[in-house]
Symmetry: C2
Subunit: 195 residues, 2 copies
């Protein structure tokens, strides 16, 4: 079969792991299951990921990185910091809501992985907070915002909008009022950042 | 035994239900279990609570009301709205953290009840939001705050502080940075309410 003749990259292993997770749930996403799905020996998967935990960590990181990479584009835009902050928070909410609502087969197993995995989730949050701090810092520099420390302000904004991105709130994201609630929270936070 | 000679009030039934929950968890808190704990017939419990669902709803409501009643005292104080808002939010965080940390035998079963019960939880949130709106309204009246609509602002403050009262965040409440995070969020929200 084709799978065995292509070079076995970490990326191919992670794609296959996502597929296994989607089909069979987190309990079945072991190195042996993934090797079987790829039609390779489990030794060749172990050369890339030495443990099941390392494989799960990598697949979680890849999933989270897709969101941060899209948000980094907004964070880097050269325009009004207020509008950029609002759009960035809306894009974060949209990305999380999309994953929860449109891809439930993958969201449920990922929630289990997120529970298991330490560093990937923490790094993701640090990454997002740094992007927020860059937007707030730019706003402080051009007089749009006031914040004694952009990183502290970024963490506060991140925590204050948890209802709209933390997976523990996923069930609330289909409520009819949720978009108005999001707008009211973001309006208040932007007012809090005014000089 | 003493239990059978006292008048069987709804309050006594609810006390016994809490005790049964604490000892045996939510699966065991049925009308029959509670009647057995009280040494009465289950018919006499049914006269107060017609279904297991009604009993669970009432016990959840009683537990939540204890928090709202304490907070109502702060909301009604006659002093600076900014300090009152800060103290009210701190008292809410403290009450929830206390329940999660110091009474885990009751917190775990209650989380199951909170999942089950519709109206009690929604009414609790409405009650808390109304208290917040009263504080914000008083601040608007005396020029401490600006808010086009105190109830909308109250909901935004409640949602923006969810990390510090929503039970889905309970595991984060023992993190060393949590108190600084709380202060940073509340500072930002109070700045957002400035005229």
């Amino acid at each position: 079969m084709a799978a065995t003749t292509e070079t076995l990259t970490a990326e191919r292993i992670l794609e296959a792991t996502e597929e296994v997770l989607r089909r069979h749930g987190p309990a079945k996403a072991t190195v042996v299951d993934v090797a079987r799905a790829l039609g390779v020996s489990h030794g060749s998967v172990y050369r890339h990921f030495r443990t099941k935990a390392a494989l799960r960590e990598a697949v979680t990181k890849r999933w989270l990185d897709r969101t941060s990479e899209r948000l980094a584009v907004i964070a880097a835009e050269d325009r009004d910091a207020g509008a950029r902050l609002r759009d960035w928070l809306a894009a974060l909410f949209e990305a999380k809501r999309h994953k929860a609502g449109d891809d439930p087969e993958l969201f449920a197993p990922y929630m289990v992985l997120v529970e298991e995995s330490g560093p990937a989730v923490g790094e993701h949050i640090e990454d997002l907070t740094a992007q927020l701090a860059a937007i707030i810092g730019a706003g402080v520099a051009d007089g749009t915002f006031t914040a004694p420390d952009p990183l502290t302000a970024a963490r506060a904004v991140f925590h204050a909008t948890g209802r709209f991105h933390d997976p523990c709130h996923a069930r609330e994201w289909t409520a009819p009022a949720i978009d108005d609630e999001f707008t009211a929270v973001v309006d208040l936070l932007l007012r809090g950042l005014r000089p």
